[in-house]
Amino acid sequence: MSTILQVEGLTRRFGGLTAVNTVSIDLRIGEVHAVIGTNGAGKSTLINMLSGEIASSEGRIRLSGADVTRQPQPRRALSGIGRSYQRTTIFPEFTVHENCRLAAQARNPRPWALWESARTCNASVQAADAALEATGLASVAARLAGTLSHGAKRQLEVAMCLATQPRVLLLDEPLAGMGAEETDRMLALLERLKPRHAILLVEHDMDAVFRIAERITVMVNGAVIASGSPDAIRNDPQVRSAYLGEEH
């Protein structure tokens, strides 16, 4: 399987603090690559650099071979890198469908076409419908996003990301605050998305990570201390002492 996102020696310094230290990872279509680590390990900073939200101090990011390290976030999103946020960032005052349609509109912008109604943009409407269908939110499409349950908001967060038709999904703690049933639903969704997307999953729920990930990278203090299959990670003595604790 081919690598779609290639990250080499990515580093981010904030003054004297090195939040992310020469991290290299590859993402492949058909794989969930989980990044785990304690709070402050640099996982969110890593996602922010991959999505273009903050600039990297050093290193290189290649998407399908093309260097995107210096691309600003909107350009990178259009190149196919979609992301979800740890803190839910939906548009609470719009309907669920409008949330997705607006996200999809990024691919069909035509801002100068003032005579065309935003609601009748077929490509965006279809992309929104597909994203809602995929995430199981079609039945609440007409609801105001702000009135959804926490779990449904998290699903909408992913649906909005899907509506932009990305090839790479960067998911920042999609399971945060979810109950067991909602977690199962989200993991099932990720399984369905896997064949056509490369997924980077930052997550604290270890059971979920070990259930779904093909590869796991462990970060401590901004640096990668181990990377490999779930089995290899589970048995890595360094990881056990640094992070997983004795019960695993």
């Binding site: 939200e53 909107p74 979609g82 946020y85 548009f91 076409a113 003032l114 005579w115 935003a118 349950s149």
Partner: protein
């Protein structure tokens, strides 16, 4: 699943929610004004024209405050630049109406472009301060340099004209102003329902998410800022063409504050709100400064106006338009 019933909440303010009466109410108001033009004479006619011009000004700010979520406290600058350019470009004869409108709007748009490029890199209260600072800069340029006649301002030699349209004629002024108001309202209504407007609504709600989806939000905000500046310039042109005089006070921060109050008073997020706000604010100011109505208090109209605005905002957090919508709902 959270099942909070929607009926508990007020009408959802979705991206381009349908309004009571759709496009028919604004059209009916425009038609009624057009029909009433000849009989709106004297003081009443002057007031109507003044309110229509201020409604254009308020609508231009609504594009920023309500539709994009950008609170500018320097909007008088574009209003004033449009007015000054009209007078300066008129020279010592009657200028061409169409040419002067275009020049006024272009100049205001140009200044908005320069200010927007710099100020839109900031957010929130910093954006408010930067827009205010640039407006004060423009104010002092006209106030303290000979460009625009200094603190006294400058007069038009003759009002603009274009063929049979002569702004010396009261009725022509009325219809030109009405046409400008209809144009402004229609343009903003089109923007609201377009993809551009939807993107602006998204930026207002959550800019970070818009960037993550792939929108280069800076350019969207800049476009809105420039259009708003051009429309404020249109209002400025109309004031200059009607009054025949401009002075630096048009660019002062009081004016920026007043137009912002109109938008807030009417109800942020509604084109009708901006128009309603312009009407009510102007009438309030007029009433509270008239001795025949409030007696000696008229000398302290700033105080009574301020207290009234505080009362309005405290009692009507959604503005006057919120009151209209509430009574429309109860009537059902």
């Amino acid at each position: 699943m959270n099942t909070t019933s929607l009926s508990m909440k007020s009408a959802p303010t979705t991206i381009a929610a349908p309004r009571h009466g759709g496009i028919w109410l604004p059209l009916a108001v425009a038609a009624a004004l057009a029909a009433a033009g000849p009989v709106l004479t004297g003081y009443l006619g002057d007031m109507v024209v003044k309110v229509m011009i201020l409604a254009i000004f308020a609508l231009s700010l609504e594009l920023l405050v309500g539709m994009t979520g950008l609170v500018s406290l320097g909007h008088a600058a574009y209003f004033g630049v449009g007015a000054y350019v009209t007078v300066i470009a008129s020279g010592d004869g009657a200028g061409n109406l169409a040419l002067l409108v275009a020049l006024a709007m272009l100049a205001s748009a140009g200044y908005a472009l320069a200010v927007g490029v710099l100020s839109l890199r900031t957010r929130g209260v910093y954006f408010i301060m930067v827009t205010l600072a640039f407006a004060q800069m423009a104010y002092f340029i006209f106030h303290d340099t000979p460009v625009g006649g200094g603190s006294d301002g400058i007069y038009l030699y003759a009002r603009p004209a274009l063929g049979p349209l002569d702004m010396e004629n009261r009725l022509t002024v009325f219809y030109v102003v009405l046409a400008a108001l209809v144009f402004t309202y229609a343009l903003l209504a089109l923007i609201r329902r377009s993809r551009f407007g939807a993107a602006l609504a998204g930026i207002r709600a959550n800019e970070q998410r818009m960037r993550a989806a792939g929108f280069a939000t800076f350019w969207y905000k800049l476009a809105a800022f420039v259009i708003a500046g051009a429309l404020a310039g249109l209002a400025g042109f109309l004031v200059a063409a009607r009054d025949g005089v401009v002075n630096p006070e048009m660019l002062s921060w009081h004016i920026s504050g007043e137009v912002l109050l109109m938008v807030i008073l009417g109800g942020i997020g509604h084109l009708r709100g901006a128009v309603l706000g312009a009407i009510v604010f102007t009438l309030l100011k007029e009433l509270l400064s008239t001795h025949g109505v409030v007696g000696g208090l008229a000398d302290h109209w700033q105080l009574t106006l301020g207290l009234s605005i505080i009362a309005f905002v405290a009692l009507l957090p959604k503005g006057l338009i919120g009151l209209v919508q509430r009574s429309a709902k109860e009537a059902k």
